[in-house]
């Protein structure tokens, strides 16, 4: 059962990472708000399914909806919040300004949830979503967990196929051209804001879905479960797997989650220093991010671009033509650039 739980968690975070990769990997927006969307999805799923609060516990709504309907509504709420944040942050702000704005937004959300108890009961958080549908399906506890794992993996597979299709679609190519050179893409008639905005909402929807699944996985949710820094693990996973490559992203999440959970089990954690294990884990995540950026920014699996329906052409160095003075947007769309310099796309066109 230990492995069932590890793989379930990795599967949920793979869905989250696929969403984040659309925002960061394709559209190029380094979003720090993203874990907030998972949290909101989780909270909303809870308060829509667990019924009225019993004082002194307090939270909003308190309906008893069937789980799938609650999940759908939760995703809609998350997308609504992303629509507001994205409308503000994506309009003019890019790169570091965008990152700082989204970090501010997630910190504000965190402070609000933590301190304003009528919302989600502040620091205590909400709990009580225990295996929705277990009695209806007539399953044992362990049996339910295995079925839930299967549900997560099926969803992950469906989302993977959807994302792969999107990646090869004109929409996916447009996002990449916008990422490589906004001005060139705009000159070719693309609406930069709309492209980024739609990618942002799509990513947030996946985060909300992952949040709803996460609610079932841990059955309780409070502010200690979602410090904004958790998001760095997802970024590390995307960096390891290969930014912009859905298959690589999923591989990266499984490698980082399972690798780190397994590795850190062997770290000594003396009873007098309970913080040692988790702290070491964070240090390793931080080092992993720095080393991947330094030595292999394209990840284990390089970004691929499907051109004219043919599979397997590599994009990798779409930034190269920028230095040659040619509009990159066009290059990314027609896919003529082959991988020459591994980190060419890291360089921003001056």
């Amino acid at each position: 059962m230990y492995w069932v739980s590890v793989v379930t968690e990795a599967g949920i975070f793979a869905i989250l990472a696929l969403g984040l990769d659309v925002v960061w990997g394709w559209a190029g927006d380094f979003d720090l708000m993203f874990y907030g969307y998972l949290a909101l999805g989780s909270y909303m799923t809870m308060v829509l399914t667990i019924g009225k609060p019993i004082p002194p516990v307090q939270y909003i709504i308190g309906w008893r909806l069937p789980y799938p309907l609650a999940l759908l509504l939760a995703v809609l709420v998350v997308v609504a919040l992303a629509a507001v944040i994205g409308a503000i942050a994506l309009r003019n702000l890019r790169e570091i300004y965008f990152a700082v704005t989204t970090l501010s937004a997630v910190t504000a959300l965190y402070l609000l949830v933590e301190n304003y108890t009528p919302l989600f009961d502040g620091y205590n958080g909400v709990y009580g979503l225990i295996n929705p549908g277990q009695t209806a399906l007539n399953l044992t506890y362990n049996g339910y967990r295995i079925v839930f794992l299967a549900v997560v993996l099926v969803l992950l597979a469906l989302i993977y196929l959807l994302v792969e299709r999107l990646s090869a679609s004109p929409f996916g190519r447009m996002l990449r051209s916008v990422r490589e050179d906004e001005h060139a893409a705009a000159a070719y008639g693309r609406s930069v804001f709309w492209a980024k905005y739609r990618a942002y909402l799509f990513g947030a929807a996946l985060a909300g879905l992952a949040g709803g699944l996460f609610a079932v996985f841990i059955s309780a949710f409070n502010p200690s479960a979602w410090t904004p820094q958790e998001l760095l693990v997802i970024y590390a996973a995307i960096l390891v797997g290969g930014r912009g490559n859905p298959r690589g992203v999923i591989a990266g999440v499984f490698v980082v989650y399972i690798g780190f959970i397994e590795l850190t089990r062997f770290l000594p954690s003396p009873a007098s220093r309970p913080e040692f294990g988790p702290a070491m884990r964070q240090i390793l995540i931080g080092l992993l991010i720095i080393l991947m950026l330094k030595f292999r920014p394209e990840g284990l699996f390089r970004e691929r671009l499907n051109v004219d329906g043919r599979r397997g052409r590599r994009l990798g160095g779409a930034g190269v033509p920028a230095s040659a003075g040619e509009p990159t947007g066009a290059a990314a769309v027609s896919g003529q650039a082959d991988a020459k310099e591994p980190d060419a796309r890291e360089r921003s066109p001056q």
């Binding site: 380094f30 309009r91 300004y97 504000a108 702290a279 995540i285 931080g286």
Partner: protein, 293 residues
Amino acid sequence: MSTFLVSVGIGLATAAILALSAVAFTLEYAVSRVANFAHGELLTIGAYAAYTGQRFFHQNVAAAALVAAVAGCAAGLVMNAALIEQFRGRSAITVFIATLGASLVLQNVLEIIYGAANVSYSFAQGGLHHIGPFLWTTSNIEVILSALAVAGLIYLLLQRTKFGKAVRAVSQNRELAQVSGIPARRVVMGTWALAGAIAGFAGFTLADTIGTFGPQLGFSFLLLTITAAVAGGIGRPYATLGGALLVGLVIQVAGTYTNSAYQLVWAFGLLVLLMLFRPNGLFVRKSATAVRA
């Protein structure tokens, strides 16, 4: 004695610490073109160094402050050499993500060394003083005076010395400064040492003012620092002082009239407004506002 003026007084003390931290942040940005997300950890390192130092120097506040500044200076040098210089020539966002990783590493290294629980100094805060309409503790006054002194010294250093001239040249264009015979690498190193020392000292004053602190001290102060730096205009040391004053006053006054837990929310509201409407800072002439990062 009105509540408003008391909160303005506390706001000035906050602004003084913020000014120190934001000036260091902006100096780092000026020479290396990096929004250093691990800047908060320089403050935390300074605070913890003073905590270790007070065991040897007991009630000597000046010695503790010096220890904090020296530790911050060393940390700044190491950060520049081991991290920032390694990523030279890479895009701003890549370096930013790398510093985010470094921040995570440093925070947890400090947690392993000093434990996750909060610690506190044993310095006396001194009595309360009525100065004009304001109400300050002795250490509040010391913080404000030392911030003014540091600001004055930075002004003299940047405007009146050869080193300052070199810093200004490198911050305008590192390559051009290099070919003009300025040892750019050494100037950048020196600037990081200076910024680290200021940040370490700021960390000590912050920890002393708050009372207790943990490994997250600097990280939680980072967003305020960035807000102050953006308000002034990132990379402009003098304007940053004005930005710090504005942010310090806004959060204290707003925090006094609303739940103080939401102080940071006000700062972020201000930050978002600033970035949307004045991304290059408040104190920039209209003609200079066209450029965007």
